[in-house]
Symmetry: C2
Subunit: 332 residues, 2 copies
């Protein structure tokens, strides 16, 4: 298993600080959860049914023609590589590491590419996998450029897979509206934007035939009843204004976080509304410095960097600001 953010129990044990005392900024999950509405008893009791309207609600919300609900976009990441004949798969690097691992495990030949290398190497690839915006770098790809790459791949029977897990606040970059095209697969995450990572819900947007094959592979009832009921409510038209408000608040929070980090000499190299990415040769030291103060951030080694998620409240913002100021004092 790869390491991920959110492993608070492990950090608590390592640093001898009770889980409840941490400021956990190690994930890119919205810190204020969408309010969980009362769920119908059948959502808990009965087997979930596919024809409950959830796929249609996702299509309408994301602007896609076809959607398959999955138990978190991770479930699709695990399963998709087996639907493609073994081939040469370009994977953006650095990026969310589960993609590379899943394609490699399924027997594909991996080619790790920086964003700037893709154009020159595209015609060697059968499949190109990237995240837009990228995690953890925050790098963004223009839709027109992605659609050009997609068309070139599709002409040779290839495919572009775009993980849009952090796309909700910048829908103008989404390829959802084009996802019915052959040779294009778009992943959307529900839990990050809505702050409900525990329910395990995501969507695959693609041509119907590919979704049918993926559904067959994943099997029936993969998404829980409570997750389906919540998704229906949160993605439905009645929640449109609340979603827009949430997007605005998260964008403002992301800018505030970028500003706070810059003010402490840690100007982000990139980011999204939900996280900021700081490249620094002191990543390991700063990670440890913060952890000793009960602040958990996500550390990456290649390249040496830290990813900061959003604090949930003013206490959290101040705690982060003070800790970073202390670090500045101690190191200058």
């Amino acid at each position: 298993m790869l390491e991920h953010g959110g492993r608070l129990r492990a950090a608590a044990q390592r640093y001898g600080i009770p889980p409840g005392d941490w400021l956990d900024l190690s994930t890119g999950i919205a810190p204020e959860p969408w309010s969980v509405p009362p769920l119908p008893p059948d959502a808990w009791a009965r087997l979930p049914e596919d024809d409950d309207g959830l796929a249609e609600a996702a299509c309408a919300c994301y602007g896609a023609a076809h959607a398959l609900p999955v138990a978190g976009s991770q479930a699709a990441i695990q399963a998709l590589p087996a639907l493609f004949a073994a081939g040469r798969v370009g994977v953006l690097a650095p990026s969310y590491a589960e993609h590379a691992q899943a394609w490699q495990r399924a027997g594909h030949q991996l080619i790790r590419l920086a964003g700037g290398e893709i154009e020159a190497r595209l015609d060697e690839l059968d499949v190109l996998v990237l995240a837009n915006p990228n995690n953890p770098t925050g790098e963004r790809f223009e839709p027109s450029r992605l659609l050009d790459w997609q068309a070139r791949l599709a002409r040779r029977g290839g495919c572009l897979l775009v993980d849009e897990a952090f796309m909700d606040c910048t829908p103008e970059y989404s390829l959802a509206a084009h996802s019915h095209r052959r040779g294009l697969v778009v992943l959307r995450s529900f839990g990050k934007f809505f702050g409900l990572a525990g329910i395990r819900l995501g969507f695959v947007l693609a041509e119907a035939a590919l979704l049918a094959r993926l559904h067959e592979r994943l099997g029936p009832w993969t998404v829980s009843g409570p997750a389906r009921a919540l998704g229906l409510q949160a993605l439905g038209p009645a929640s449109g204004a609340a979603r827009a408000q949430r997007a605005g608040q998260l964008q403002a929070a992301g800018q505030r976080l970028a500003g706070l980090l810059s003010a402490q000499g840690l100007a982000p190299a990139g980011g999204t509304a939900l996280f900021q990415w700081v490249r620094t040769s002191e990543a390991a030291r700063l990670h440890d410095f913060l952890a000793r103060r009960g602040i958990l951030v996500r550390r990456f080694d290649e390249p040496a960097s830290l990813r900061f998620g959003l604090p949930a409240d003013e206490t959290g913002w101040q705690r982060l600001a003070w800790a970073l100021a202390d670090y500045q004092k101690e190191t200058t």
Copy 2:
């Protein structure tokens, strides 16, 4: 996708009866759901963590050495066949059809066997897959016999997979206590016994090395936070008395259902606490007769048979009794 019980929306549409008006006996799920306790907000908001004690609670409850929580035993059924080298797989027939389909899809050679054929054919097999008690027939296999088969398979590097989805009321038949042996895999279902099929929770009991490979294949966070929190509560030691009471009530209900069917000339050929299985050449006709009265049961074609789940309340019991009496009158 195979057909399953619980597809109430489809039946409602076909028979022009609103979903709320049905008596749904088409599944083998306990009709009274375990009371859902208040769940910690983090169960919804945060990524689920593996070290929350759920695996340990399942081990203690089922009497197993190692357990991997999965998003319903169906998730394991889908994934397990790929962990075994292509081979000859004996699958009990008739049984829960997803097993045969999953092993076939993964490239194994299927040999469908009636319970009485297994002993004679065992030495041809690499893997033997059966459900104990079996669904829908209710056939039971003695643990001593299963352990003999398991030992013979394991000596040749083979494996016995026992789906114990309906085992909770008859734990004396379970192989959980032996599931750490190489060449034995036991599946347990959470949602059926607890009447919470919507949450998607099940467990794989097996040697640690196989569970690690399965976990790697399924990926992180496959079980939702609410399901984990509920599982911890329901399988924990504080719920032991409530579980025992539930088991007693379900066994009594199963006997009542068998009696009711017998009294209407439909003596079950087998069953468990959660369902009774009636072999009858009139399965299609009786299925339709009941559906026209808003009673949904599960129909099987090979052999022609019906599976009856438990009514949830006295109204449901009476409605079933009256409908069966009407059918008797009409056909005699």
